[in-house]
Amino acid sequence: MSQDVPLNWYLIVAACVFVIGLFGVMTRRNPIAVLMSIELMLNASNLNILAFWRLGTPNPGEAPLTGVVFTALVIAVAAAEVAVGIALILVCYRVWKSADVDRYDSMLG
């Protein structure tokens, strides 16, 4: 059932989303928006891994569920990263009273 969507289509979609995430990281000024873009990039990598797992040929002798476990671990890591990210943003906001990345410039030079 899933064979008739070629692998390359998934890779193109994953690459497109990854690039959009990268663009978001580079342009957005609000740290929370940057965190969201990083979530986009991580999800794109997840999609890539799973597409290769399901439609690519595994290495001879490879375990049946490598890609799935890798994706599960990446989902857990992404959740932990967002949690810490927002904690740090709150700390920054409390100390700096602003949520604009460009205005954090106390250490110049």
Binding site: M1, A72, I75, A76, A79, A80, A83, I86, A87, L90
Partner: protein, 119 residues
């Protein structure tokens, strides 16, 4: 053939959206529309204040959401263990207890420093 079963979930999702939006559309047709400025105002005694962010007071919302994220990921890892426990040995029990112990450390920590208290 899991794919075909989720097809029904997709159909049900579209149906549910239709089922929810239909009355909203219906009102547009049936219900009277006499918008007056007063009706537009939010239910508020007095002006809606552009209050300064009251970060200290609302901090525990964030802490509860944070605890939820970590425990949610934990429960997701609990399900495969529970499903395959029949064919696993005692070591899987010990391994999962270590995993749970690590997360109870987080809960005990949040409890002990009073993060769980609702000011």
């Amino acid at each position: 053939m899991i794919l075909s079963r989720y097809l029904f979930i997709g159909m049900l999702l579209l149906f549910a959206i239709g089922f929810a939006v239909a009355p909203l559309v219906l009102i547009r047709i049936i219900a009277p529309r006499r918008p007056t400025p007063h009706k537009g105002q939010t239910v508020e005694c007095g002006l809606e204040t552009q209050g300064e962010t009251w970060i200290r007071f609302r901090l525990q919302y964030y802490i509860f959401a944070l605890l939820f994220v970590v425990f949610d990921v934990e429960t997701v890892f609990l399900y495969p263990w529970a499903a395959s426990y029949v064919s696993l040995g005692w070591y899987a029990f010990v391994e999962m207890m270590v995993f749970l112990a690590m997360l109870t450390v987080g809960l005990v920590y949040a409890w002990a420093i009073g993060a769980l208290k609702w000011q």
